[in-house]
Protein backbone atom coordinates (compact mmCIF):
# COMPACT_ATOMS: atom_id res chain seq x y z
CA UNK A 1 0.00 0.00 0.00
CA UNK A 2 2.89 2.35 0.79
CA UNK A 3 4.33 1.60 -2.61
CA UNK A 4 0.98 2.29 -4.31
CA UNK A 5 0.62 5.57 -2.43
CA UNK A 6 4.13 6.52 -3.47
CA UNK A 7 3.26 5.70 -7.11
CA UNK A 8 0.17 7.91 -6.93
CA UNK A 9 2.20 10.77 -5.49
CA UNK A 10 4.86 10.73 -8.21
CA UNK A 11 4.74 13.86 -10.35
CA UNK A 12 3.18 11.85 -13.21
CA UNK A 13 0.50 10.44 -10.92
CA UNK A 14 -0.39 13.84 -9.47
CA UNK A 15 -0.38 15.53 -12.86
CA UNK A 16 -2.58 12.97 -14.65
CA UNK A 17 -5.01 12.89 -11.72
CA UNK A 18 -5.30 16.58 -11.01
CA UNK A 19 -5.05 18.13 -14.45
CA UNK A 20 -8.43 17.37 -16.06
CA UNK A 21 -7.07 17.78 -19.58
CA UNK A 22 -4.12 15.45 -19.10
CA UNK A 23 -6.49 12.75 -17.88
CA UNK A 24 -8.85 13.32 -20.84
CA UNK A 25 -5.97 13.26 -23.33
CA UNK A 26 -4.72 9.95 -21.87
CA UNK A 27 -8.24 8.54 -22.27
CA UNK A 28 -8.34 9.74 -25.90
CA UNK A 29 -4.98 8.10 -26.61
CA UNK A 30 -6.22 4.93 -24.91
CA UNK A 31 -9.30 4.90 -27.19
CA UNK A 32 -7.20 5.45 -30.31
CA UNK A 33 -4.72 2.76 -29.35
CA UNK A 34 -7.62 0.43 -28.69
CA UNK A 35 -9.10 1.14 -32.10
CA UNK A 36 -5.85 0.12 -33.83
CA UNK A 37 -4.83 -2.86 -31.68
CA UNK A 38 -8.26 -4.29 -30.96
CA UNK A 39 -9.48 -3.48 -34.48
CA UNK A 40 -6.73 -5.56 -36.08
CA UNK A 41 -7.04 -8.37 -33.52
CA UNK A 42 -10.79 -8.37 -34.04
CA UNK A 43 -10.80 -8.72 -37.84
CA UNK A 44 -7.97 -11.30 -37.66
CA UNK A 45 -9.64 -13.54 -35.10
CA UNK A 46 -13.15 -13.09 -36.54
CA UNK A 47 -11.72 -14.22 -39.88
CA UNK A 48 -10.10 -17.15 -38.14
CA UNK A 49 -13.32 -18.41 -36.57
CA UNK A 50 -15.29 -17.67 -39.74
CA UNK A 51 -17.53 -14.84 -38.47
CA UNK A 52 -16.33 -12.78 -41.38
CA UNK A 53 -14.67 -13.41 -44.70
CA UNK A 54 -12.00 -11.06 -45.90
CA UNK A 55 -8.23 -11.21 -45.72
CA UNK A 56 -6.56 -14.63 -45.24
CA UNK A 57 -5.45 -14.92 -41.60
CA UNK A 58 -1.72 -14.90 -42.28
CA UNK A 59 -1.99 -11.83 -44.55
CA UNK A 60 -3.13 -9.84 -41.50
CA UNK A 61 0.53 -9.89 -40.43
CA UNK A 62 0.99 -6.82 -42.67
CA UNK A 63 -1.31 -4.96 -40.25
CA UNK A 64 0.47 -6.08 -37.09
CA UNK A 65 2.88 -3.10 -36.99
CA UNK A 66 -0.20 -0.84 -36.79
CA UNK A 67 -1.69 -3.06 -34.09
CA UNK A 68 1.57 -3.00 -32.11
CA UNK A 69 1.72 0.78 -32.41
CA UNK A 70 -1.78 0.94 -30.93
CA UNK A 71 -0.76 -1.50 -28.21
CA UNK A 72 2.28 0.56 -27.22
CA UNK A 73 0.17 3.76 -27.15
CA UNK A 74 -2.19 1.92 -24.80
CA UNK A 75 0.60 0.57 -22.65
CA UNK A 76 1.97 4.09 -22.13
CA UNK A 77 -1.40 5.83 -21.68
CA UNK A 78 -2.54 2.88 -19.55
CA UNK A 79 0.47 3.23 -17.23
CA UNK A 80 -0.20 6.97 -16.92
CA UNK A 81 -3.86 6.30 -16.05
CA UNK A 82 -2.91 3.53 -13.61
CA UNK A 83 -0.30 5.62 -11.83
CA UNK A 84 -2.85 8.39 -11.25
CA UNK A 85 -5.20 6.01 -9.38
CA UNK A 86 -2.88 3.18 -8.28
CA UNK A 87 -4.44 2.66 -4.84
CA UNK A 88 -7.87 2.33 -6.44
CA UNK A 89 -7.26 0.34 -9.66
CA UNK A 90 -4.92 -2.23 -8.09
CA UNK A 91 -7.82 -3.62 -6.05
CA UNK A 92 -10.50 -3.44 -8.73
CA UNK A 93 -11.55 -6.96 -9.74
CA UNK A 94 -12.44 -5.82 -13.27
CA UNK A 95 -9.02 -4.18 -13.70
CA UNK A 96 -7.16 -7.33 -12.67
CA UNK A 97 -9.44 -9.36 -14.96
CA UNK A 98 -8.82 -6.93 -17.83
CA UNK A 99 -5.02 -7.23 -17.55
CA UNK A 100 -5.24 -11.02 -17.24
CA UNK A 101 -7.51 -11.32 -20.27
CA UNK A 102 -5.21 -9.09 -22.34
CA UNK A 103 -2.18 -11.17 -21.39
CA UNK A 104 -3.90 -14.53 -21.99
CA UNK A 105 -5.41 -13.22 -25.23
CA UNK A 106 -1.97 -12.08 -26.37
CA UNK A 107 -0.54 -15.55 -25.76
CA UNK A 108 -3.43 -17.18 -27.65
CA UNK A 109 -2.92 -14.74 -30.53
CA UNK A 110 0.74 -15.75 -30.76
CA UNK A 111 -0.19 -19.45 -30.60
CA UNK A 112 -2.83 -18.89 -33.28
CA UNK A 113 -0.41 -17.27 -35.72
CA UNK A 114 2.27 -19.90 -35.04
CA UNK A 115 -0.22 -22.68 -35.66
CA UNK A 116 -1.48 -21.08 -38.89
CA UNK A 117 2.12 -20.85 -40.13
CA UNK A 118 2.88 -24.44 -39.19
CA UNK A 119 -0.39 -26.24 -39.91
CA UNK A 120 -2.71 -23.87 -41.77
CA UNK A 121 -6.40 -23.37 -41.02
CA UNK A 122 -6.94 -26.51 -38.96
CA UNK A 123 -9.22 -26.82 -35.94
CA UNK A 124 -6.51 -25.91 -33.41
CA UNK A 125 -5.71 -22.68 -35.26
CA UNK A 126 -9.37 -21.72 -35.20
CA UNK A 127 -9.67 -22.66 -31.54
CA UNK A 128 -6.78 -20.33 -30.67
CA UNK A 129 -8.43 -17.63 -32.79
CA UNK A 130 -11.73 -18.05 -30.95
CA UNK A 131 -10.01 -17.97 -27.56
CA UNK A 132 -8.14 -14.78 -28.50
CA UNK A 133 -11.38 -13.17 -29.66
CA UNK A 134 -13.16 -14.17 -26.44
CA UNK A 135 -10.32 -12.86 -24.24
CA UNK A 136 -10.12 -9.48 -25.98
CA UNK A 137 -13.89 -8.99 -26.00
CA UNK A 138 -13.69 -9.76 -22.28
CA UNK A 139 -10.96 -7.14 -21.99
CA UNK A 140 -13.17 -4.46 -23.61
CA UNK A 141 -16.04 -5.31 -21.28
CA UNK A 142 -13.97 -5.37 -18.08
CA UNK A 143 -12.12 -2.20 -19.16
CA UNK A 144 -15.39 -0.35 -19.71
CA UNK A 145 -16.77 -1.64 -16.43
CA UNK A 146 -13.88 -0.02 -14.54
CA UNK A 147 -15.84 3.23 -14.84
CA UNK A 148 -18.74 1.61 -13.00
CA UNK A 149 -16.98 -0.09 -10.08
Amino acid sequence: MDLLLWIEETSIGVHVREDAWTFAIMLCLHSLGMAFSLGVVMITTMRSVGVLKGIPVLAHAGLFPAAWTGFIINLISGIALYVSHATEYTFQVVFILKLSLLAIGGIFMKLMMNNYRANGAEATSKLFGGLTLACWIGAIITGRLMAYS
Binding site: C28, A35, L63, I140
Partner: protein, 160 residues
Protein backbone atom coordinates in the same frame (compact mmCIF):
# COMPACT_ATOMS: atom_id res chain seq x y z
CA UNK B 1 -34.17 20.23 -33.57
CA UNK B 2 -36.42 22.01 -31.08
CA UNK B 3 -37.07 21.33 -27.41
CA UNK B 4 -40.24 19.35 -28.15
CA UNK B 5 -38.41 16.99 -30.48
CA UNK B 6 -35.69 16.43 -27.90
CA UNK B 7 -38.31 15.84 -25.21
CA UNK B 8 -40.09 13.38 -27.52
CA UNK B 9 -36.80 11.50 -28.02
CA UNK B 10 -36.28 11.40 -24.30
CA UNK B 11 -39.77 9.92 -23.73
CA UNK B 12 -39.47 7.11 -26.26
CA UNK B 13 -39.03 3.62 -24.79
CA UNK B 14 -35.37 3.83 -25.83
CA UNK B 15 -34.82 6.81 -23.56
CA UNK B 16 -36.83 5.32 -20.71
CA UNK B 17 -34.95 2.02 -21.06
CA UNK B 18 -31.57 3.77 -20.93
CA UNK B 19 -32.46 5.74 -17.81
CA UNK B 20 -34.42 3.15 -15.86
CA UNK B 21 -32.35 0.03 -16.45
CA UNK B 22 -29.17 0.07 -14.40
CA UNK B 23 -27.22 -2.17 -16.81
CA UNK B 24 -28.43 -0.44 -20.01
CA UNK B 25 -25.68 2.18 -20.27
CA UNK B 26 -22.62 -0.07 -19.77
CA UNK B 27 -24.28 -2.78 -21.89
CA UNK B 28 -24.73 -0.41 -24.84
CA UNK B 29 -21.25 1.07 -24.31
CA UNK B 30 -19.70 -2.37 -24.65
CA UNK B 31 -21.51 -2.91 -27.95
CA UNK B 32 -20.42 0.58 -29.02
CA UNK B 33 -16.78 -0.41 -28.39
CA UNK B 34 -17.27 -3.74 -30.16
CA UNK B 35 -18.81 -1.98 -33.17
CA UNK B 36 -15.97 0.54 -33.13
CA UNK B 37 -13.39 -2.24 -33.21
CA UNK B 38 -15.00 -3.98 -36.19
CA UNK B 39 -15.58 -0.69 -38.04
CA UNK B 40 -12.10 0.65 -37.40
CA UNK B 41 -10.34 -2.71 -37.79
CA UNK B 42 -11.82 -3.11 -41.27
CA UNK B 43 -10.90 0.46 -42.16
CA UNK B 44 -7.32 -0.01 -40.94
CA UNK B 45 -6.96 -3.01 -43.25
CA UNK B 46 -8.43 -1.23 -46.29
CA UNK B 47 -6.85 2.18 -45.72
CA UNK B 48 -3.35 0.98 -44.82
CA UNK B 49 -3.35 -1.23 -47.92
CA UNK B 50 -4.51 1.65 -50.13
CA UNK B 51 -2.05 4.14 -48.61
CA UNK B 52 0.73 1.62 -49.17
CA UNK B 53 1.78 0.99 -45.56
CA UNK B 54 0.56 -2.62 -45.70
CA UNK B 55 1.37 -3.70 -49.29
CA UNK B 56 1.30 -7.41 -48.41
CA UNK B 57 -2.45 -7.31 -47.76
CA UNK B 58 -4.33 -8.48 -50.89
CA UNK B 59 -6.43 -5.54 -52.14
CA UNK B 60 -9.51 -7.49 -53.24
CA UNK B 61 -9.66 -9.29 -49.89
CA UNK B 62 -9.29 -5.98 -48.04
CA UNK B 63 -12.16 -4.47 -50.06
CA UNK B 64 -14.34 -7.47 -49.16
CA UNK B 65 -14.27 -6.13 -45.57
CA UNK B 66 -16.47 -3.16 -46.55
CA UNK B 67 -19.76 -4.90 -45.60
CA UNK B 68 -18.33 -5.68 -42.14
CA UNK B 69 -17.26 -2.07 -41.73
CA UNK B 70 -20.91 -1.18 -42.45
CA UNK B 71 -22.08 -3.72 -39.86
CA UNK B 72 -19.74 -2.14 -37.31
CA UNK B 73 -21.14 1.26 -38.22
CA UNK B 74 -24.74 0.02 -37.96
CA UNK B 75 -24.04 -1.38 -34.46
CA UNK B 76 -22.68 2.00 -33.43
CA UNK B 77 -25.50 3.94 -35.05
CA UNK B 78 -28.09 1.86 -33.19
CA UNK B 79 -26.30 1.96 -29.82
CA UNK B 80 -25.62 5.66 -30.43
CA UNK B 81 -29.35 6.33 -30.89
CA UNK B 82 -29.94 4.62 -27.53
CA UNK B 83 -27.39 6.92 -25.84
CA UNK B 84 -28.91 9.97 -27.49
CA UNK B 85 -32.44 9.03 -26.44
CA UNK B 86 -31.17 8.39 -22.91
CA UNK B 87 -30.00 11.98 -22.52
CA UNK B 88 -30.92 14.07 -25.60
CA UNK B 89 -30.60 17.48 -23.98
CA UNK B 90 -27.06 16.70 -22.91
CA UNK B 91 -25.88 15.35 -26.27
CA UNK B 92 -27.61 17.83 -28.55
CA UNK B 93 -25.89 20.83 -26.98
CA UNK B 94 -22.54 19.11 -26.39
CA UNK B 95 -19.86 20.62 -28.60
CA UNK B 96 -17.83 17.37 -28.83
CA UNK B 97 -20.97 15.47 -29.87
CA UNK B 98 -21.83 18.10 -32.52
CA UNK B 99 -18.34 17.92 -34.03
CA UNK B 100 -18.38 14.14 -33.82
CA UNK B 101 -21.61 14.02 -35.87
CA UNK B 102 -20.19 16.53 -38.37
CA UNK B 103 -17.09 14.36 -38.83
CA UNK B 104 -19.22 11.23 -39.33
CA UNK B 105 -21.09 13.03 -42.13
CA UNK B 106 -17.73 14.00 -43.61
CA UNK B 107 -16.56 10.38 -43.32
CA UNK B 108 -19.73 9.36 -45.16
CA UNK B 109 -19.04 11.76 -48.01
CA UNK B 110 -15.44 10.53 -48.15
CA UNK B 111 -16.72 6.93 -48.28
CA UNK B 112 -19.04 7.81 -51.18
CA UNK B 113 -16.09 9.36 -53.02
CA UNK B 114 -14.17 6.14 -52.40
CA UNK B 115 -17.05 3.93 -53.54
CA UNK B 116 -17.92 5.80 -56.72
CA UNK B 117 -14.50 7.16 -57.63
CA UNK B 118 -12.01 4.48 -56.67
CA UNK B 119 -13.58 1.15 -55.77
CA UNK B 120 -13.77 -0.25 -59.32
CA UNK B 121 -10.18 0.76 -60.11
CA UNK B 122 -8.86 -0.64 -56.83
CA UNK B 123 -10.63 -3.98 -57.36
CA UNK B 124 -8.49 -4.54 -60.45
CA UNK B 125 -5.22 -3.79 -58.67
CA UNK B 126 -2.73 -6.68 -58.65
CA UNK B 127 -1.24 -7.89 -55.35
CA UNK B 128 1.43 -5.49 -54.16
CA UNK B 129 0.56 -2.88 -56.80
CA UNK B 130 0.25 0.73 -55.57
CA UNK B 131 -3.09 2.57 -55.57
CA UNK B 132 -3.36 5.90 -57.41
CA UNK B 133 -2.93 9.24 -55.64
CA UNK B 134 -6.63 10.17 -55.15
CA UNK B 135 -7.26 6.77 -53.54
CA UNK B 136 -4.38 7.40 -51.13
CA UNK B 137 -5.82 10.80 -50.23
CA UNK B 138 -9.22 9.25 -49.51
CA UNK B 139 -7.69 6.49 -47.39
CA UNK B 140 -5.62 8.97 -45.37
CA UNK B 141 -8.69 11.18 -44.86
CA UNK B 142 -10.71 8.15 -43.81
CA UNK B 143 -8.25 7.19 -41.05
CA UNK B 144 -7.81 10.80 -39.92
CA UNK B 145 -11.56 11.52 -39.79
CA UNK B 146 -12.39 8.33 -37.88
CA UNK B 147 -9.57 9.00 -35.43
CA UNK B 148 -11.18 12.40 -34.91
CA UNK B 149 -14.55 10.73 -34.35
CA UNK B 150 -13.05 8.47 -31.67
CA UNK B 151 -11.31 11.38 -29.92
CA UNK B 152 -14.43 13.56 -29.94
CA UNK B 153 -16.57 10.69 -28.69
CA UNK B 154 -14.22 10.17 -25.77
CA UNK B 155 -14.26 13.91 -25.05
CA UNK B 156 -18.07 14.19 -24.77
CA UNK B 157 -18.02 14.04 -20.95
CA UNK B 158 -15.13 16.54 -20.81
CA UNK B 159 -16.53 19.25 -23.09
CA UNK B 160 -19.73 20.36 -21.50
Amino acid sequence: MNQDTLAWFSDTWLGVFMRDTYWAWPFMENFHFFGLSVLFGGLVAIDLRVVGIAPSVPMKAALSLIPYVMVGFAINLITGIFFFAGDPFRYFYNIAFQWKMALIVLAGINALWFWFGEHAKLSKLADGEQADFPAKVIATLSLAIWMGVIILGRLIPYLE
